[in-house]
Symmetry: C2
DNA sequence: TTAACAAGGATTGTTGACAATCTACAATCA
DNA sequence: TGATTGTAGATTGTCAACAATCCTTGTTAA
């Protein structure tokens, strides 16, 4: 097949991804208001599709909706609640790893390496939105390959609320290295290393 | 204060609750299509608010959306995935119980008893939508009182996907009794009994 | 008989306009 | 001076109309 077989992504999906990444990377900081009309102008649509996106992101946990007032960027979950969410997220990711173990193909590793390449470039450019997006995309790829849309949706809802922080790492490159280690261990079929790398990454 | 202080529920919220209950009780069976125009007629609104509701329920996990085609009722999660969701749900509910333990007031027990009365009436009438709604409402009350909107949203997303089944119980009255036992144990501050009743209920 | 194509109807997606609600600020009153 | 009220502008919520897409059925060709 010589023609591209990339899935066509809907306008809604693209806008949602873009805004989610901006929220996850703090480009849109907690409590920042989002205005339908401005976003419609920014993305070249009418307000209708923007409303859909804002509603989706609200349900995902990225935004807080107030009737007749609008939506604002939500505050990340903290303290014990965050600990519980991290624990839940880990359980889902470990389960996904179990499910896909030994079943990934060359195409899968090609796709994950591609995500890592994007992350590498984002780290070079210190582009936090793209870093956050790649981070999310890699983990999500594994969940997605495990095949349960339900677990994937719940995982997303948790991941969005946790808001990964990168302050524990010294350099941008460390963000990338940590994720490379996960993929390397999976590809080498070293489950102990994969689980360790994965759980060390979700904190 | 002699005037009612009941919170006003938005039209969207009321429609979402009604449809969710119908889905949870199988009145709207898996794979059944939902049509915007028909629902708009049924609820006396335009299609816009209905689209909002359908999008919300889709994100919650009750509906499956297909671009340009519409939404259908989702299929409950089964097998190992369901086991994991039940485990996650239990962890969230146990955490909520910890958080509220010893802090509930007379007003809370009045509210929960009121939900149980509604469940009792629903059982008499064998009204599955109302039973499912009461079941959800009681558990959700506890989560809500624990004070984390994030955990509440994730809990809802899990609960909707699990779809409680009542076939393990002999009579409609058993459904109610099982929930009475939970509230009784909480009110008596008997934590062991509360945890046992709660976990036995979520299967 | 089966597969491919065309057409009509059903339904969703988008748009712009109007109605409803909220917020911020100024003016007035006690 | 602080509290209350009124007003204007910003923004969301809803509506109806039109555009786009899909599904179903019927027809035709191999």
């Amino acid at each position: 097949m010589s023609l591209s077989s990339q899935p066509v992504r809907s306008v809604r999906e693209q806008i949602a991804d873009q805004l989610r990444n901006e929220i996850l990377s703090d480009q849109l900081p907690p409590n920042a208001p989002l205005r339908e009309a401005k976003l419609a102008e920014r993305f070249g649509t009418s307000r209708g599709p923007i409303r859909d996106v804002l509603l989706q992101l609200t349900q995902e946990g990225a935004l807080i909706y107030k009737p007749n007032v609008g939506v604002r960027v939500g505050t990340p979950t903290v303290n014990e609640d965050r600990e519980l969410l991290i624990s839940l997220r880990r359980q889902i990711e470990v389960r996904a790893l179990d499910t896909i173990w030994g079943h990934l193909e060359d195409e899968d590793f090609r796709a994950m390496r591609e995500i890592l390449d994007g992350m590498d470039r984002a780290c070079e450019k210190k582009d936090m939105a793209a870093i956050a997006g790649s981070d999310m995309a890699l983990h999500r790829y594994l969940i997605h390959r495990a095949g349960s849309a339900d677990l994937e949706a719940i995982w997303l809802s948790i991941a969005v609320r946790i808001r990964m922080t990168y302050s524990r790492l010294k350099t941008f490159k460390d963000i990338w290295s940590e994720h490379v280690a996960i993929v390397d261990a999976i590809q080498a079929l070293d489950k102990t290393a994969a689980l360790e790398a994965l759980e060390a990454n979700i904190v």
